[in-house]
Structures are given as C-alpha cells and as structure tokens.
Symmetry: D2
C-alpha cells in the first residue's frame, strides 16, 4: 500500500514502483497532469487505485450537502443565486482552488439552474483554507462553509482509503465515491 | 383563507372566525399557547390548517441539510461535535430562539450521537437574525448558516402555503412537511 | 442648501443651480468625473461645498481605526500583512469599490510598510456592502469590518454636513475631514 | 529572568525563587489569585516584574483600537450599542473569558456611554479563541475581531517583555502599558 502525497509530476515513478511491488495506491496530489492520470489509470488494471484530490471528510460533506441543496432548490420557481468564496494563505498562487471549482461544479450539475458566475479567491490570513457556498434568496441567505485549520484533516480519509483499498477489487476509484460507499450507501 | 401572523393569544378568535366563514387557516405566530394549539387542532377537523412557526424557505433548507448531515455523520467512528449559535437584535427577549431549539433538535434526532450541549444566544446587531450550526471535527469545521435580513423572507412560504391550502384536504399540517411535499417528495 | 445624491454626470447642472441660488452644496455621487470635480471646486469659491463620496459614519470610523492601527504597527519589527475583502450585491459592476481602494490607501499611507497587494471583491449576497481589513500576524489576525445594511446609513452624515455647511466659511471640504472636525478635533 | 506561564497557584514559589536569584519576572498566568498578586507586588520592590495576562500583540491592538473608537463615539448624539462575543474551544470552562471582560471594560471606561450589557461566550470550534467587539449603529455595524490560532501568538510579547525587563528599573508593570511604551509612546 502506497500513499503518494507528493507533487503530481512524481506519480509515474510511484505507479511504476506499485506495479513492481503489487501495491495498492492512494494518489493524493492535487496537481496531477495527464501523464500522471494515465499512469494511475494504467496501474488500476492491476491493483486498486484511489484518486483523492482532497482527503478531508469536511470537503466531502460540504459537496454532498451542496448536491442535496441544489437538487431541492431547482424546484423553486425562483431559485437562489449561488456563489463561492474561498480563502487560502498568500502562499497559494493559483486561483481559484481546485476545491472551489469542484464545489461550483457540484452545484451546477445538481441544480441545473445555471452557472455559478462568481467564484472568488482571497489570499490572506492563516493556514489552511476556507470554502463557502452562499445561496442568496430575496431576503435571506443560506451558507455552507468548510474551514480547515490543519493538514491533519487528511488523516481520517487517508487511513479510511488505505484500509478499504487493502482488500478491494482491482480498479480505479474516486475518494468521494469511496466516502459515499463507506458512510452512506452501505448504511443498514 | 386566513393568514394569522399576529400574536399567539389571538388564535382562538381567529379560529372561531375561520369556523364561521369556512376559511382555511395559516397560523404563523411563534408563541402559540396550548389554548391556541387546541383551537387550531379543533378547526382542522373542518378546514385545512397549516401551522407555520417559521415561514422562511431558508429555515426549512437549513433544517433539511442538518438532517442530511446528521444521518451521515452518525456512521463516523468519531462524529463531529455539534453546536448552535444564534443572533437576534437586542429587542428579542427570550433565549434561545425557537428556531435555534428546533435546529438542535433536528441534529439530535437525526444523528443519535448525543446532545447539542451548546446553544448560545447573542443579542446584538441589526435585523433580523442568524442561526448557525457548527460541526467541529479534529482539524476542520463545517458550518450551516441561515441569515435573515428582512421579514419579506416569509412571503414565499405564506403564499405557497395559502395556494396549497386553498383546495387541500381538511386536516392539520406543519409548514416543513408542506415544503417537503411541495419541493421534494413530488419531484418527478 | 442642496444635497446632490444623483449621478456624477449631473453635478455641473447642480453646481450652476447652487451658484444662481447662493446655496451650499453637499456633493454625494461616488462617480464624479473631472468635469464634475471642476464644477464643485469652482462653486466652492462662492459657497461652502462638501464632497462626500461615502457619508456613513462607519466608513469614516473604519478608516480612522485603520490609520491608528497602521501608525502603531509600523514600529513592529515584523509588521502584519494587510489585505482587504469587500462584498457588494451582484448588481455592482466595478471592482474593487471606491471604499475598498480608500481603505487600502489609508493603510498604505499611514503604515509605510508596503502595499496592500490583496484587494478582493465578492459580488454576492444581500444589500448593501461589507468592507473588511484583515491584519495577519504569524499566529493571529485582527480584523476591522464595516457592514452596511441600509442606505439610511448616510442620513446622519448628510444631516451633519448640511447643518455644518449652513453657516460655514466658503470653501471646499472633504466629508472625512468634516467628521474629524466635528467628532474629534473640537473635543474638549 | 523567569517567564512563569504555569498556573496562578504556583506564583508564590516562583516569586520566592526570583527573590533568591535576583531574577526579573514575567508573570503570565491568567488565573492569579490574591496571594499570587501579593507575591508579585512584593517581589517588584526588588526586581522588575511584568504582569501579562495576555501576551498577544493582537489582544493589545484590539484594546487600543477599542479605546480609540470609544473616545470618538462618545461625542456622537446617538452612540452605537457595544457588545462582545467570544469563542473558545469546549474545553474552556469559565464564561466569559478574562479577555472578553477586559475588552468590555476598555469600551465602558473610554466611552462613558454606559454598560456593555451583552458579553456572550460560545464554546465550540477549534483552538484557540476569537474575541469580537460589535458596534451597532442604526443601519450599519463596525466590528473589531481578534482571532488567535496558535499559542505562538504569545512569543513576541514574551520576548519583548523579557528583553525590556532585562535592564529595566525595579517596579511593577502591566504588559499593555509596556506595549504602549515600546510601540507608541517612544515613537519619534
């Protein structure tokens, strides 16, 4: 079992190692390029591979609740306007974050009521990050906020993924689908 | 069709009027006493009666998402700690608000992982109110916030309830169940 | 006494009227062009003219506290990083707001510790606006936030300016200097 | 030089040690009882003693800006209503925190416009603490927030106090007065 939390460019080397060793892989880099994705996909023909751009349970929960909200709100005659604000420390260069784009995409796909035209990035403050989805109604707002204070937020997801992948069927899995499976679908 | 948004003590008079007129009733006062509730229940044997402590769609959405979050989180080996903070202007006397207590009860019922021991009221700032459910994990938090800026937030719910009650079967209905019916359950 | 809160393009007409009538002018439009500023300046040779881009007392207070904070922090061996986040409704087109730029300039001028490189605009939520100055230290932050909920926030400043201009010496005045004079400098 | 950041009950022992060794003392415990304060006061006849309930520079800055705001606002015909909200993790037992009480006292002393009747404590979320002073005007609010994420926030103050006490005159000093002296009064 290999958990690769280094940079995306390294993944082909890691995948080659997993292939030789017959080890399952949890691929955590958020900056995978196409070469890395191809290597992970190819490896998944032999061992279980989990792709986990964001291992935090809070990220997954925020996206699930966003999906729930969107699927309800699409039935309103006048659905709310959705917008996303994210904050990272000044050290982060790219805007918006991959997680902010994922959150906007989750809303757009599930609501079918048009684009999230406002996805704004603020580079300030202390580690690690905040992501907020704001739903604006005529006289009120509902907000879904995820605030990460420590990279330890990834530990539960990393261990849950490793535990699961240990004797999982060969194949390629996304971490959010894995959380769905572990925490929702298999519920009695 | 009568929409009673006055004080709870008035409801028996309103119910008597509805009975004489054969009019459906939307009962909106948040301070109904047992006499008022009895009057509404008795009336509901003759006409449709909707009890709507909080008519805002945001309140309903926040409670639905809270229930979703709770039912998922109960399966975690180490569920988050839930707490509620509410704010109203200094003019509001009672603490905590009925909506804050409802939010805590929604979490407790759906999660089964123990009490929301912290429900705090802050009396400050401008109209109208904020209610936040905070879920605290070891290194991250997820928050669900509802911010009402104008009593116009009640308009959609009042009209939706009135429209529905107009030709509804005789009976007693809660507004949140009505929203569930209108926005979720009947979806194609 | 004329209070002109219409669009900047109108100011030359208003100034001509004030000149004919001998009336003092409170010029409130935030989008004055050079023609408007010239007209106001020219008028101020004859009557008192107050330029008030933002009439709210909160805006003035936030800028005063920002200046205080900046003048202290410049003496720290390791001054905090300053950043500004502003929010207006989606209807506002320009980014960043004039008030956000003014706030950043206030910090930069008074601190002398370099640029506010991060001034971010978020177009979402309900009326009217929020402006936050965040000061980030290694393990803590201090924030100064101004939240306007209603254009009535301009009333006190408009009346104070009108009351003062009524028998003021001929000349050109900025509203913030006027607040300084009324609320700070003349204090016993 | 001794920096005592243990519990208040220990201070008499620490003071006795400092007396024998002739060492200056930075007394940081926030729960000093009268016996501890007496011991610190007695010691200050022989060596420099700095009492530092809260060593963070942000706490000091927030109190200074609060004092500035209060001294201005007292001249308004209709001063804002002041209120304090503080948050610490669920592990903190006492309510409100000493820092919240200090902040309210700073406002009350400097404004002379009446009590801060609302000082609310919320026990939730992650380490360490937030303290917010809210000033509510008719249509707007101005807020001063201090957010501590790590106890490292005390380091600068501890080192500055130790450096200063090293060759300071014998006597008893409060940390906030020391910050005033180091960062404000001695400015050129």
């Amino acid at each position: 079992m290999v958990i690769d939390a280094s940079r995306g460019a390294v993944l082909p080397l890691t995948a080659a190692y997993c292939q030789r060793a017959g080890a399952a892989l949890i691929a955590c880099a958020s900056d995978l390029d196409s070469e890395g994705i191809d290597a992970a996909r190819a490896l998944s023909a032999q061992v279980p591979v989990v792709q986990a751009t964001n291992l935090s349970i809070g990220h997954w929960l925020q996206n699930r609740l966003t999906r729930s909200a969107a699927s309800i709100m699409r039935r309103l005659p006048d659905p709310p306007v959705a917008s996303v604000l994210e904050r990272h420390t000044a050290a982060k260069r790219d805007r918006p974050s991959a997680s902010a784009r994922a959150l906007a995409a989750t809303w757009e796909t599930a609501s079918g009521v048009g684009e999230v035209t406002e996805v704004v990035s603020y580079r300030a403050g202390l580690a690690v990050s905040e992501h907020t989805l704001d739903l604006t109604f005529p006289c009120e707002t509902v907000s879904l906020r995820h605030d990460v204070r420590d990279l330890g937020a990834a530990v539960f997801g990393a261990l849950a993924a490793a535990d699961w992948a240990h004797d999982a069927p060969v194949g390629f899995y996304l971490i959010n689908d894995l959380f769905d499976r572990l925490l929702v679908e298999e519920s009695p």
